[in-house]
Symmetry: D2
Subunit: 279 residues, 4 copies
Amino acid sequence: MINTALQKTASMLVAGGDGQLSRVTVRNVCFGGEQVPVIAGPCAIENEECLRETAFKVRAAGAVMLRGGAYKPRTSPYSFQGHGIKGLECLARIGEEMNMPVITELMDAEDLPAVMEHTDIIQVGARNMYNYSLLRKLGKINKAVVLKRGISATIEEWLLAAEYILAGGNREVILCERGIRSAETWTRNTLDLNAVALVKQLSHLPVIVDPSHGTGVRSLVAPMSMAALAAGADGLLIEVHPHPENALSDGEQSLTPKGFSQLMRQLEPLAALLGRRVR
Amino acid sequence: MINTALQKTASMLVAGGDGQLSRVTVRNVCFGGEQVPVIAGPCAIENEECLRETAFKVRAAGAVMLRGGAYKPRTSPYSFQGHGIKGLECLARIGEEMNMPVITELMDAEDLPAVMEHTDIIQVGARNMYNYSLLRKLGKINKAVVLKRGISATIEEWLLAAEYILAGGNREVILCERGIRSAETWTRNTLDLNAVALVKQLSHLPVIVDPSHGTGVRSLVAPMSMAALAAGADGLLIEVHPHPENALSDGEQSLTPKGFSQLMRQLEPLAALLGRRVR
Amino acid sequence: MINTALQKTASMLVAGGDGQLSRVTVRNVCFGGEQVPVIAGPCAIENEECLRETAFKVRAAGAVMLRGGAYKPRTSPYSFQGHGIKGLECLARIGEEMNMPVITELMDAEDLPAVMEHTDIIQVGARNMYNYSLLRKLGKINKAVVLKRGISATIEEWLLAAEYILAGGNREVILCERGIRSAETWTRNTLDLNAVALVKQLSHLPVIVDPSHGTGVRSLVAPMSMAALAAGADGLLIEVHPHPENALSDGEQSLTPKGFSQLMRQLEPLAALLGRRVR
Amino acid sequence: MINTALQKTASMLVAGGDGQLSRVTVRNVCFGGEQVPVIAGPCAIENEECLRETAFKVRAAGAVMLRGGAYKPRTSPYSFQGHGIKGLECLARIGEEMNMPVITELMDAEDLPAVMEHTDIIQVGARNMYNYSLLRKLGKINKAVVLKRGISATIEEWLLAAEYILAGGNREVILCERGIRSAETWTRNTLDLNAVALVKQLSHLPVIVDPSHGTGVRSLVAPMSMAALAAGADGLLIEVHPHPENALSDGEQSLTPKGFSQLMRQLEPLAALLGRRVR
C-alpha cells in the first residue's frame, strides 16, 4: 500500500516527506520545523468581549495563533451563520491587540479580499475540500492556506486538493486532519492519525490536527492532542470557549480556557521528548 | 427512525411527500408527475460531432433531456477539466438543434451567468453539495436545480442542502441520488435506493437517480436503472458515450447508444406497470 | 472494476453468472429459476399462537417458506436471546401444519444437529459471515444454506465466505444481501442492490434480499422489495409480525400481515413483467 | 455524545473508567496498571526456528509476551489456514523456553481445550467479535481474553461483546483496538484512537492497540504505537517477523526484529513521561 501511495504521489508537487519538510512561516509562527504551533480560539466569533477573553487566556497558556469563524458553514440554513465582515474585523482587532496572527475560514471567493485583508492564514473547511474552483483561486494568492481534509476524503483526494493550490503557484499549504465520517455515533468523527503519519511520509507539507472536530467530545481533546503529537503532527487547532455551554456552535467539543491551559502543560514535555516545542 | 426523520424535517420547506409531490417543469419535461424523464448524454462535452451523435441517438431512444459537462470537477488538477464556455455553447447549440432541454454542472458562481444563459437546468455536483455559498446563490435564481447528494452525505444533510436553495426562494429543486462512498472496491459508489424511497416519504421534491456514478460499472447501469424506477425514482440521469473506450472521463461507466436504447426498451414496460411513462 | 472482479473470482467455485445460474431446490421451492420465492415470518419465534397466525396469513398472501428465529444474535447479552430448541420445535410443527418449508438461523455448531432435524434451510446471519469454522462445518452437510452478507463485508469477502461452504462439498448455497453499515442514521442499514446486480454477473449462486434488515424501516420494505426484484434478486426474506408494536425484536421493521399481503399484490405483476413468478 | 455513552454503559459490568481500572495479570505481566506490556511475534506460527528466532529477539528488545497464530481466519479458504494444534504446541514450547507467556487466537469452541492447555491468554479476533456463542463460552473459563474490536463495530457493540464475557463470570477481559474499515485504500484499516481514549473513560477494562492490523503498513507501526501510548493505551500487540518478505501472512505490516527493537527504544521514554513503563 505504501508503494502504491508513493508511486501515485511521485510526480505531484506535494511529494516528498521524511526529512524534506517544507516550512510555512506566518509572522513569528513556523509550521514544519521544530515548533509545533497550537492554534486556539472559539468555533465562531460571537462578540468582541468573548473573543478578547479567549485570546488573552489561550495566549497566556501558550497558543501562538488565534482562530475564530466569521463565515460558518452550517448544515441548516437556519442555524447561526457567523457575523461575516464584522466578525473578521473583530478577529483582526483582537489579533493585533494580542499580537497574535489570526486564521479564519473562507467559504466563498467573494469574501477573499476581506479575508486577505484581515487574516494571516486562510482556512479551507472540510466541506470545501472538493471545491476546486475555490482551491484554484487560493493557488493564486500570496498567503498561507490551511486545507482541512474532506469529511470522507481519501488521503489521495486530500493530497490532490492540496495539489490544486500548489499547482497555481502558492506553496504555502498546511494540511489539517479533522476526522472522517464513520458509523460510530459516540464520537462526531473518527480522527484518523494513520493519515497524519502517512502524509508525513508521502509529502513535504506540514500537517496539523484538529482534535475538536476530530472527536466532537471535550474529554477526548486532550488525549487525542497528545496522540496527534506522538504520531508526528506539526501543529494543533483547538476550539476553546470561555462558556462552552452557551456557545453558538460546537460547545460540546470546546475546551474551557482552564482545560486548554492544563492540556498545554501536558503537551510541553511531550513535545520536548519528541525534539520539538509548542511555543 | 422514520419518526425521527419526520420530526426533524417537519418544519422544513422540503417537508411533505407521498401524494403531495411538487412538479418541476422545464419546457416539455416534467419531474414529479406521471412522467419519469430520462436525461442522457456524455460525462464531458468533448467535441461537437460526438455530442451531436450522442444527442441524436439518445433522443431517438427516448431520452427527453441532454446532459453534458462543460466544467468538470476532477480529483486531479492535471486531468481534463472540461471545455468551459465553449462546451456550454456547444451544448446549447445541439440542444436547440435536437429540440431537447439541456443540463450541465455549475462549479463556480462566476460561471452562473453563462450557465443561466445556455442551459435549462443547473446541476450541483456531489462535491459541491456542502458548498453553501453556491447553494444560497442558486436560491435566488429563476431556474431549476438538480442537487446531487454529497459523496458521504446523510439524508438529513442532503435535504438541508436543498433547504438552502428553497429558503432563498427558488422552489424548483430536484434531488439526485448518485451513490455514497463505502468500503466496497468493486463498485465506484454504493447506490443508496433506501434514500430514494425514504426521501419520497419525507419530502415533496422529485428525486432522480444517477446509476452511472452510483455504480461506476457499465453492466450495472441497466439493472440499477430498473431498481431505481421500482423504488420510486422520478427520473434517471445516465451517461452515454458513442465510444466509451475513448471517453475523456468516466468511460468505464458509460453506456453505448445501443446499450442505452436497450435499456429504454426495458424501462418502458416497467414505467407503465408503475403507472408512469418514460417519454 | 468489473474486470478486476471477474479476474478475482475466475478460479472460484462461486464463479459463473448470467445464464448459468444454479438452482437450489428445497421441497417445492426453487431458488435461481423462474420462481422468486418469498420467505416470510417473524424475526423471533415468540409463541406458537403468534407464529401460527403469522404463518397462516403469509402463506395465504403468497409466501412459500416460513422464517423464524430460535437462536437470536443480540448485541446485548441481556436482550431476549430466542427460545432455542423449543422455538425450533415450534417452527417445525407450524411448518408441517402449514406445509411450508422452514428456515432458521444457526449461531453455534453445537446446535447443528437440532437445526438439521427441524429446518429445511439453515441461515448464517450477518454476524457470522466471517465465522469460518462454522462455514466449514456447513460445507459438510446435506442441506441448503442461506449466507447473509456481513455487516460491512465487501462483495469479495462475501463470495469467499460462500466459497468456504462450496469448497467443503455443499453446493446448495443461496446468498442474501441484507444491507451494509454506513454513516446514515435514518435507516438501520444501507441496502446495497449494486451488490445483488453485480453478484448475479459474477456468480451462479442465487441471491435473495432482506429488505427488512436492509432498511430497518417498515415503510421502506415495500419499495425496496420492488427494487430488489427489478435489480435481479432471486427471492425475498421479509419480517412479518401480527403485532409489530409488541414484537420482542425488530418490530420497527416488521410488516403486518396486511401490509405483507399488499406488498405481494404489488410484487406479482412486477415478477410477471420480469418473466418470473413469486409463487 | 459522552453523556449518551455514559448513560448507555452505566448499568453494564464494563462500566467504570478513569481511575477505577481493572488489572488483568497473566504470570508476570499486568495490563491496566503502570506497566504497558508489549506483545510481539509473527502473525502466523510458521515453523519452530522462525518462532524461536523471533521470540528471542523480541524478548531481548523488551516484549513481555509472545504472540503467534495457530488458527488463522483467512478471507479465502485456499489461503494458509495455520498449523493448528502443532502450531499451538510449538508456541507453548517456545514460550516456555523463553519464559514468556503466550497468546493465540481461538476461532472455534472445539479448539478451546487445546488452546486452554497451551496458552496464557486467548485472543478473539475481529471477525469473531460478533460470535456471541463463542463469547459466552469464554465467559465460563478461567483465563484472560483479549477481545479485538470487530471490523466495523461501534464502540457500544464492542463493549457489549465484552459484556457477554463478563456476564458469564470471567472478569479477565482486555479490549484491543485494531482499526476499523473505511473507504481509505492506502491503509488496510483506520486505527481509531478516539475509541481507545473514549473506552478508557467509559470502562474499567484495560485497552490495548494493534497498530499492525490498524495500519497494514510497516512504516506506520512506529508512529501509531507512539500515538496509541499517548492516547492512553494499556498495551500494544505488534507483528514481528524475521523475514517479512517471506511471511505466509501479513508480511507487509510486520516489523523486522531490528525495527521492533528501534520502536521499543522510542516507546520507553514516552512511557516514562506518561508515568508508565513498557517492561
